[in-house]
């Protein structure tokens, strides 16, 4: 008897439980790759191959016996062995009890038959219990589940318990049968039948004949004759019939052996096999419906999509601390507009200072920038504290070109000239939004004292419209 489907299910479930902590993207990549490799090699990416592949990748030395599934199987095997050992001992004890003969009373065939029927009933109940999912053995296995909960292993409990019980029952029947045969050989057993009921020998003969029907054609001697039935009836209150010869009392043993074999041993064997196959069937079905299998198939069948999200520089942000502060707006006639700033109108504060700022940057040519630098130089030379207003658009952040322009200006303009950057908002009447102003303050800070930032426009509550 093989446990292959069961072992496969448990191994798959172990892998499923282990994979739960792995990122889904990793699992997808891993399993898709396996499926693609199989496709290339013309193999089918089955579960067994998949598990073997994963084991192979992990290398030799893995202790498979320590996985929860293996431990579960080992525990059930141990429990099954316990049932078999217990069953064997009980079988011997029960048969010895049934065949207890001190030379006084006969061994009652009726008791023997009742015991056989009880065994048959127990075997059927065990099977029904497994099919219905009852777990009368639950107390035995309860502590197994405390740390390793798995719906799969829980669902396997009833058929596992039924198989262990049927194995124990078969052991019981086997050891009972062996004991019966040994006792027949080593002792002279005297069987008879007895019942309180007012039963005629013919009725009793009909009963035993129907019990013996399965083997009557095979071993006629194991079917008690009417004469034997009539001769071996006994009453505890009456002395033995003188007509019955001593060997006649022993002639029941072939019937009893075959009864035990047919109605106790064979049903147990058949039910053990049935339970075993039911267990394997349940294992196959649980595997087919395993939630992990659906996701595994999905991972194998669907391509791995990577959108370029591996790169991470989220922690590599620039230093955005602003060390400089806003300066006050100086009064100076020199006003330059960078990249079209102020073209849509100047703030009121700047109108009296300079109605026509000089245009540089943006659409202007580089030669025009140079010309403005030259022109303003002459203007600045006439001032005692040369100051320049440089209007910018606050939403167009400072660029390398502006930096170049200021660097050139520093070289061309008289020493001590100070530039005040004035970032304008889209609405000239308002000051720029704070988040737009911050880069300008940092930019001015990097120009080491040559430039500062001032704002124009009436104060507003929100820094944008």
């Amino acid at each position: 008897m093989t446990d292959k489907p069961l072992r496969l299910l448990l191994a798959f479930d172990d892998r499923f439980q282990r994979d739960r902590d792995q990122p889904a993207t990793f699992l997808h990549r891993r399993d898709r790759r396996f499926a693609l490799d199989c496709q290339q090699q013309g193999r089918s990416p089955g579960i067994r191959a998949w598990l073997a592949h994963l084991d192979r990748l992990s290398g030799a030395g893995a202790d498979r016996s320590q996985t929860p599934g293996s431990r579960y199987l080992q525990r059930w095997r141990a429990l099954g062995a316990g049932f078999i050992a217990g069953g064997s001992l009980l079988g011997v004890a029960a048969m010895l009890g049934l065949l207890l003969y001190e030379g006084g009373q006969r061994i009652n065939v009726t008791v023997f038959l009742a015991f056989v029927m009880l065994q048959l009933l127990l075997a059927v109940v065990t099977t029904v219990q497994a099919a219905a999912g009852w777990q009368p053995w639950h107390w035995l296995t309860r502590h197994w589940q405390t740390t390793e909960k798995s719906p799969v292993r829980t669902a396997l409990q009833p058929p596992m318990a039924a198989r262990a019980a049927q194995a124990g029952g078969l052991a019981f029947a086997t050891s009972g049968l062996i004991t019966l045969l040994i006792m027949v050989v080593i002792q002279d057993l005297a069987f008879g039948w007895s019942t309180t009921l007012d039963t005629a020998s013919t009725s009793y003969h009909r009963l035993v004949s129907s019990i013996a029907a399965p083997w009557a054609w095979l071993w006629p001697a194991a079917v008690p004759s009417l004469e034997l039935v009539e001769a071996t009836r006994f009453f505890r209150a009456a002395p033995d019939a003188a007509t019955t010869s001593p060997p006649q009392w022993g002639q029941w043993w072939p019937f009893l052996t075959m009864t035990w074999l047919t109605w106790t041993w064979l049903p147990r064997l058949a039910l053990l096999l049935a339970t075993h196959f039911f267990l394997q069937h349940r294992a196959r079905r649980l595997l087919a419906r395993h939630p992990g299998l659906t996701t595994l198939h999905y991972r194998m069948e669907t391509p791995v999509i990577e959108t370029g999200n591996q790169h991470s520089d989220a922690d590599d942000l620039p230093d955005t601390r602003t060390r400089s502060e806003l300066a006050s707006l100086p009064v100076t006639p020199v006003c330059i507009a960078w990249a079209g700033a102020g073209r849509d109108g100047l703030p009121e504060e700047l109108v009296p200072t300079s109605s026509r700022p000089l245009s540089v940057g943006g659409n202007a040519r580089l030669e025009d920038d140079d010309a403005v630098l030259q022109a303003t130089r002459q203007q600045l030379q006439q001032q005692s504290r040369p100051q320049v207003l440089l209007l910018t658009r606050s939403w167009q952040p400072p660029t390398g070109e502006l930096s170049d322009f200021l660097e050139q200006a520093r070289q061309h303009w008289p020493a001590g000239t100070r530039v005040t950057l004035v970032p304008l908002a889209a609405d000239p009447g308002l000051p720029p939004a704070d988040h737009l102003l911050q880069p300008w303050l940092r930019f001015a800070g990097r120009l080491s004292g040559f430039a500062s930032v001032a704002t124009v426009g009436s104060t507003r509550e929100a820094n944008h419209e």
Binding site: P151, T320, G400, H464
Partner: protein, 478 residues
């Protein structure tokens, strides 16, 4: 390489949202996005692969720093229009390593190597002609080009931008990197494919894969929510302790177990949040602050939260969802039968009234102390007996999923999960409600739902997600 995959260089003026566009399209929330010009100093490539087959590559580049000087150099070295692409190549070759033009070289390099141009501008600020120098340089490269009008601020100057950009670029599209819905991402990628005939197929393939990935993610999210819901509904806090300890102060013991039970449930919920975010490739959401605020103001178990997250008393009365709550009084079968069997709105009076009265509060589990065994007793707290708890968890989970699924990877703002003020589960049909209710009922009895029930629950949650999406759509529209 006979047919290399398309490369798209995302270029533009500094600080106009190039990195945001790339972050959204590459589903990467780990790209540095800062309101600081010059944050991107080197080109960064973001390849889109399917089973390691490269379909396209996005290249994030630094912004133009000295376009006029570059253009001056180009004009000085060009004789006719036909030599312009070669002149741009010559510029890059000559100035590689020159610190003045490091940004221009970085951004022009992928273009001269064959990349398509995605030129990004900010449509929330006025158009200015100073961009013309950089647009002219890009035109000189002779590469296929598309202009994207991104919106960083609230104002809208996109019309003037559109008119101006139309003179320089083959295609002009509006795309809000932070707010654009997923369908627009796909449409934009398709537009990239239109730039050159050879690019159409890989981009079409990419769009199909991304769409199916999106669909499957929704199913996976439903499975994650179902798993968490079952675990939380079934959870029982246990503690084994000596007999004396168990019986001297049962109130203290109950408080202790309740606290641990709450803690576990919150942790499980947080795990679900993290799993959903990972599923949608959101690894850097600033959720912790929001979570703390969320929890302190809208505690999972408070009455106001219960109502806000989708289990109002009126709803319980009409839908009969409170049926399971009265099971302790033995009316469970009666109400369940009437409310679930005959239909939610036709729910039996007993069920509806029972639910309504019970809707006042969530029934929390009570302490149960087991029999003495080996001198020890086991105290148990849970599982929760009221299925409303499940609806609270489900409502919050679906809401969080929606925010994550709709969130673009360029978004850097705090994720705030505000309670909703209406009952969206009303839109869920009867059979799906039944699936949810059945599973919750089984869980509160601490039984494992079987595979079929789990599958049904996942389908019902997926449906609930669609209902929620629709409800959100209508809610936003109205």
């Amino acid at each position: 390489m006979s047919n290399p995959s398309p490369v798209f260089a995302v270029v533009g003026h500094p600080n106009k949202g190039k990195s945001s566009i790339v972050a959204t399209l590459s589903q990467n929330d780990a790209i540095a996005i800062a309101l600081e010009p010059g944050t991107t100093r080197q080109q960064q490539r973001y390849p889109m692969t399917v089973d390691q087959q490269l379909l396209y590559t996005l290249v994030d580049t630094p912004g133009f720093q000295r376009p006029r000087r570059v253009l001056q150099w180009l004009e000085a070295h060009s004789v006719s229009a036909s030599d312009r692409p070669e002149t741009v190549r010559a510029f890059v070759r000559e100035h590689e390593g020159d610190t003045r033009f490091v940004d221009e070289c970085e951004l022009l390099k992928p273009i001269i190597e064959g990349a398509g141009i995605i030129y990004v501008v900010d449509g929330s600020v006025p158009y200015s002609a100073e961009h013309e120098a950089e647009m002219t340089i890009l035109r000189w490269t002779g590469r296929p080009s598309l202009a994207l009008i991104n919106s960083i601020g609230d104002d809208d100057y996109s019309d003037t931008w559109q008119a101006a950009l139309g003179q320089f670029f083959q295609v002009v599209r509006k795309f809000d990197a932070v707010r654009a819905p997923f369908a627009q991402h796909l449409s934009l990628l398709k537009a990239f494919g239109q730039l050159e005939p050879a690019w159409e197929q890989p981009l079409q393939q990419a769009v199909e894969h991304l769409a199916s990935q999106r669909e499957h993610r929704q199913h996976q999210a439903a499975a994650l929510i179902a798993e968490a819901l079952i675990a939380m509904m079934r959870f029982q806090e246990t503690r084994t302790l000596p007999d004396q300890q168990a019986t001297t102060d049962p109130q203290a013991l109950e408080n202790n177990l309740r606290e641990r039970w709450y803690q576990h449930q919150r942790q499980r919920e947080q795990t679900l949040r993290a799993n959903i975010e990972t599923l949608y490739q959101h690894q850097h959401i600033q959720r912790q602050e929001a979570e703390l605020e969320w929890h302190s103001e809208h505690d999972l178990f408070s009455e106001s939260t219960r109502q806000a997250w989708g289990v109002s008393k009126g709803y319980l009365a009409t839908a009969g969802f409170g049926a399971g709550a009265v099971s302790g009084a033995g009316i469970d079968a009666l109400t369940f039968g009437s409310s679930m069997g005959a239909g939610a709105l036709l729910g039996g009076l007993a069920g509806a009234v029972g639910s309504y009265l019970y809707g006042d509060r969530l029934t929390l589990p009570t302490l149960k102390i087991g029999p003495l065994k080996n001198g020890l007793k086991t105290a148990r707290f849970g599982p929760v007996q009221d299925p409303q708890f499940g609806y609270v968890v489900l409502g919050r989970a679906v809401d969080h999923w929606w925010h994550i699924a709709m969130r673009n990877h360029a978004g850097r703002e705090l994720l705030e999960l505000e309670p909703t003020d209406q009952h969206w589960l009303e839109g869920l049909d009867k059979s799906h409600r039944r699936s949810i209710q059945r599973t919750l009922d089984k869980c509160r009895k601490q039984r494992q739902p079987d595979q079929r029930q789990r599958q049904d629950l996942i389908i019902a949650i997926e449906q609930a997600m669609k209902v929620y999406e629709q409800w959100r759509l209508n809610h936003t529209a109205s």
